[in-house]
């Protein structure tokens, strides 16, 4: 009896082992399991840390004052934030502003980016290639630099109570709502994120099944009806994806509302952190909840996605709308002018700023005297003589700037490699198990950090890694960890989309030939999907280069270029910040060009004409 029992037990154990062996013999299973664990920890741990912070007592802050204790735990922060006399000012007003800003930015990005994408992909517009390339510039630049340009353009002694900006100098004074607050914040963030809409909506426009519209034309459907009944429903997924990406981005943006004088949850988080530390953490949680809610809405929308079938004749290619001989040129000129102000003018303005004697001092324009220009901001090689440099050396000799530049490149390269590789693996594994719950879970967990506002993610990781065991503040390790987690979706989404288009037979053929997994990946799958996969590396790289909201709580100001740039901007040393901006833009353009030449991949890959 005993030996029979032992044999049965041994058999069961063997069966279990064999099952496990079979399970792990498929790399996609191992990837899903590993990523499931890693992503759960990397998402839940910071949330846990920040929730804990909301109930911890912080010496010298309101919770200590209310609880009369200097350590331990209390719910005083929740009570005070939601019920005190300051609730409106500290919570509700910023929350309303944040929602308005996020919604407004989504609308602006979708309208501007969507119309642009339509004109580029579906019409015979002139200069499509140029416009396509120039349109993504605002995304390349740090988002608040457009806010600073906005200030330089529209501020005036009469309205904003500061020195006159360019327009005011010419006698044009804009009203206050135009100069500061919600409107300019929406415009700036909308312009910054419009390239998302352009790339996503443009991608669908370019690849959409022409049969549907052709069928409508054959059936003599009016153009407006075709647009509203066919074209817009077709791009609905892209619009939802844009909302998904822009809403969280705008909500977590700190610098734009900060510079344009709008109180949002992000700016409130920073300003409350000294006296209301625990309450600030509650604000971060509220922002995170929005991220979770957006993901939930996205899942619902995926379930209700419609399919279309044509019952008429077939079409071979997408028909382009003719704008007419004059129209195609006229609209192109209009867009060239528009993109000049959003993409070229800021760069010209940055370049000029680095040659002005004082920040914002455009004396040479009014006087016509070019001796009112200087190269000191670039070439000064000492910081002893006081020549209006605020104790700084010129950009070319400034150790702080170049150290931050090296640090930024290091962080961007590491984040790009880690996020790109992990994301590609996730994309591959999820595509292999597209219907399984595990794959769906991993896919969602990978996406969640991206949907959470950057400043909230930064705050959570700061708290998580500031203890006696892990003290990673101001280390590249921390920035790389956070950047990787945040940007995995760039790679996982693009890898998943491309892998789903790949027939399983290709890999199966190799599998029959006993080709090992790494060879299948390196020799078959990656080469076929290299363009999509590379954009999964390129986007984290670019975004990391100028990311501020995510990193600002995790390091000091000279650590990476974005914090250094913000420091100089806040100090009013626009020559330095403009110089750094130029360095960033040139770096990104060089990288984009090199990757484009070597691999054929680029940010706006193939959308423009």
């Amino acid at each position: 009896m005993t030996s029979e029992f032992t044999t049965t037990k041994a058999n069961k154990s063997r069966i279990r082992k064999n099952k496990m062996k079979t399970f792990f013999s498929k790399p996609e299973n191992a990837i899903l399991l590993l990523m499931g664990i890693v992503l759960t920890i990397s998402t839940v741990a910071p949330i846990y840390a920040i929730v804990k912070d909301t109930i911890s007592i912080h010496p010298g802050t309101i919770d200590e004052f209310i609880s009369k204790r200097s350590s331990g735990y209390t719910i005083a922060n929740y009570i005070d934030l939601f019920t005190s006399n300051l609730a409106k000012r500290n919570l509700w007003d910023p929350l309303v502003n944040t929602i308005l800003l996020s919604v407004g930015s989504c609308v602006m990005a979708i309208l501007y980016g969507g119309v642009f994408a339509f004109l580029i992909t579906r019409t015979d517009l002139k200069a499509r290639k140029y416009l396509s390339a120039i349109f993504i510039f605002p995304y390349i630049m740090p988002q608040w630099t457009l806010a600073v340009v906005w200030q330089h353009m529209f501020s005036s002694n009469a309205v904003t109570g500061t020195s006159n900006g360019l327009l005011a100098s010419l006698g044009i004074v804009m009203p206050a709502w135009w100069c500061v607050g919600l409107f300019p914040s929406i415009v700036v963030l909308g312009l910054h994120y419009a390239p998302f809409a352009y790339i996503l909506i443009g991608g669908i426009f370019r690849n959409m099944d022409a049969n549907l519209e052709e069928a409508a034309t054959i059936l003599d459907t009016p153009k407006w009806k075709t647009m509203f009944r066919i074209t817009i429903p077709m791009i609905k997924p892209a619009i939802l994806s844009t909302i998904l990406l822009v809403f969280g981005g705008a909500m977590g943006s700190y610098p734009v509302p900060h510079y344009l004088n709008l109180t949002t949850l992000s700016t409130k988080y920073v300003s409350m952190n000294d006296k209301y530390t625990g309450e600030a953490s509650i604000l971060a949680i509220i922002m995170m909840l929005f991220g979770v809610a957006i993901m939930f809405v996205n899942q619902l929308s995926l379930k209700s996605r419609k399919n279309y079938t044509t019952v008429t004749g077939k079409s071979g290619q997408i028909s382009k709308i003719t704008l007419g001989k004059v129209g195609r040129v006229l609209i192109a000129i209009l867009l060239i002018i528009l993109t000049f102000f959003t993409s070229i003018f800021p760069i010209i303005s940055f370049a000029f700023e680095t040659f002005l004697p004082n920040p914002g001092d455009y004396s040479f324009l009014y006087t016509g005297d070019t001796s009112n220009l200087t190269t000191k901001w670039w070439v000064t090689s000492e910081n002893i003589t006081e020549n209006g440099m605020y104790g700084q050396m010129g950009i070319l000799h400034n150790d702080t700037i170049w150290k931050a530049y090296r640090g930024t490149i290091w962080v961007a390269v590491c984040c790009s490699l880690f996020a790109g590789t992990i994301g590609t693996m996730i994309g591959y594994a999820v595509s292999k198990h597209r219907r399984s719950k595990a794959a769906s879970y991993v896919n969602s967990m990978a996406f969640l950090p991206y949907l959470m506002p950057s400043i909230a993610v930064g705050a959570a990781f700061f708290i998580l890694f500031s203890n006696q065991y892990f003290n990673l503040f101001n280390t590249y390790t921390l920035l790389i960890i956070v950047g990787t987690i945040k940007y995995i979706p760039f790679a996982s989404r693009s890898a998943l989309n491309s892998m789903l288009q790949l027939s399983g037979e290709i890999e199966e053929a190799a599998l029959i030939q006993n080709v090992p997994w790494h060879k299948r990946m390196l020799k078959i799958i990656i080469p076929i999907q290299k363009t999509s996969i590379l954009s999964g590396y390129l986007l984290p790289f670019m975004t990391c280069l100028r990311e501020l909201s995510l990193f600002m709580l995790l390091c000091t100001q000279g650590f990476i270029l974005a914090t250094t740039l913000d420091y100089f901007d806040e100090m009013g040393l626009y020559a330095f910040s403009s110089g750094i901006n130029l360095i960033l833009i040139v770096t990104i353009l060089i990288c984009n060009t090199v990757v484009n030449k070597v691999t054929g991949a680029s940010i706006d890959s193939g959308i423009g004409g």
Partner: protein, 450 residues
Amino acid sequence: MKSKVKVLAIMLIITALVVPLYAGGATDSPRANETSPVEEIIKQAEGMSLEELAKKAIEESNGKMFYGVGNSSRGKTALPLFISYLQTIDPNYTLNYEWQQPKNNKIFDQLTADSLKSTGTFAMTLIQDGNQIESKMVRTGILDTFIPKEWAEANGTTADEYKGFLPLQTLNKVFMYNNTGDKEFDNVWDFVAPGEHGLFMDIDSEIVGKNFLYMLTSDQYSAVLKDAFDALPEEEKATFQATIDQVATDADDLGLGENGKYALAWIKLWVESYNAQTDDGPICNTLVSQSATDQFGLIVYSKLRSVEESATVSKKFVDIAAYNDGYKGFGGFGYCHYLFVTDNSPLPWTACAFIAYMVETADGFSAWGKDIGGYSANPVVAEETEAIYKHKTGGMAEDGVTVVYPALNDRGGDWWLSENRLVLEDPSYCASVSFTVGSWIEMLSKYTPN
């Protein structure tokens, strides 16, 4: 998806419920009452001269890495000078260093996080905002005060007798205005008159600005405001009287002194009128511009040093209000840069020697001393610094007689720090009213141009 949300929700609820139970036995910070090894070293160091400290530092840190953190970037300039000084004693001495300057109040978080390690990263700090230092750093035992022997002697005291933190310098933020128009400011109440919108760093961005407002409610400075109010012409008094009456009950409720209502009135008018800016730099850029007619700001005095003359920008376009004849009331506020050794300092002797070097020698202070608007807390160093940099005549032409830039003739620490010309920060007072007067201030509606 539903199951994921459920799992996440359950995790958060468990976190919220379990952690407080787990933490049931938490007690008030124990470190503040114990004498740490660093405090013992400080005790010894307080009896030593700079040279003796330097020898200890050489013994301790030769070839090692030194981390400092501060609100001022100039610590980075002072460190190599300190190393050069140590090399005059031991030419083979070397020290690698890194100086960090966090923003957005992060210095307190950073020091708190570092204090959790048995041996910290940061050897010392140069830090501002007496209020938070008192409540978050000193009461919790994170930072220790070291009073150098020769600094104490120069101030006619001893380390044992001296109570308070060690100040490196007092910095001033002063009312300055663009003089291309004909507006005059001869009373501190002029800055809160109807229609005025002074440029000021937001009190939520830089807490020393908030401390300035707290200090106004003290008996000393509320009396200054009352005197300045009394000196106003009757019709101007009438402008402010309604506000003063309106806040009188609040002043009583907050337990302020007899002139507290004048302080609250001024604070209310200021908070509801100032035009918040991101930093003093942009404010200075505005004020020196020809187009900023009649604008004024309350900014760090030393910002003026970095203005370059051009067709439309000049230091000539700016005047310091407190220098005007017959000016009544305070001309700005003062706050200190304090020096501390961290309680878990990896290099406590070196930290003490570096601190002593900065507060006891003109060379050590030179990183700050070369600018106007920063006054060494050591009278000997202050005198030497003035002799070297001649700030009192910094606005004169080469002939030494013609005044070119009146605003640049810094009248010096002796002038600014006397007769209530500056509202000076008292950390204990600020900490005591932070959640009473502080909350009252937070209820006020700030001005926005839109």
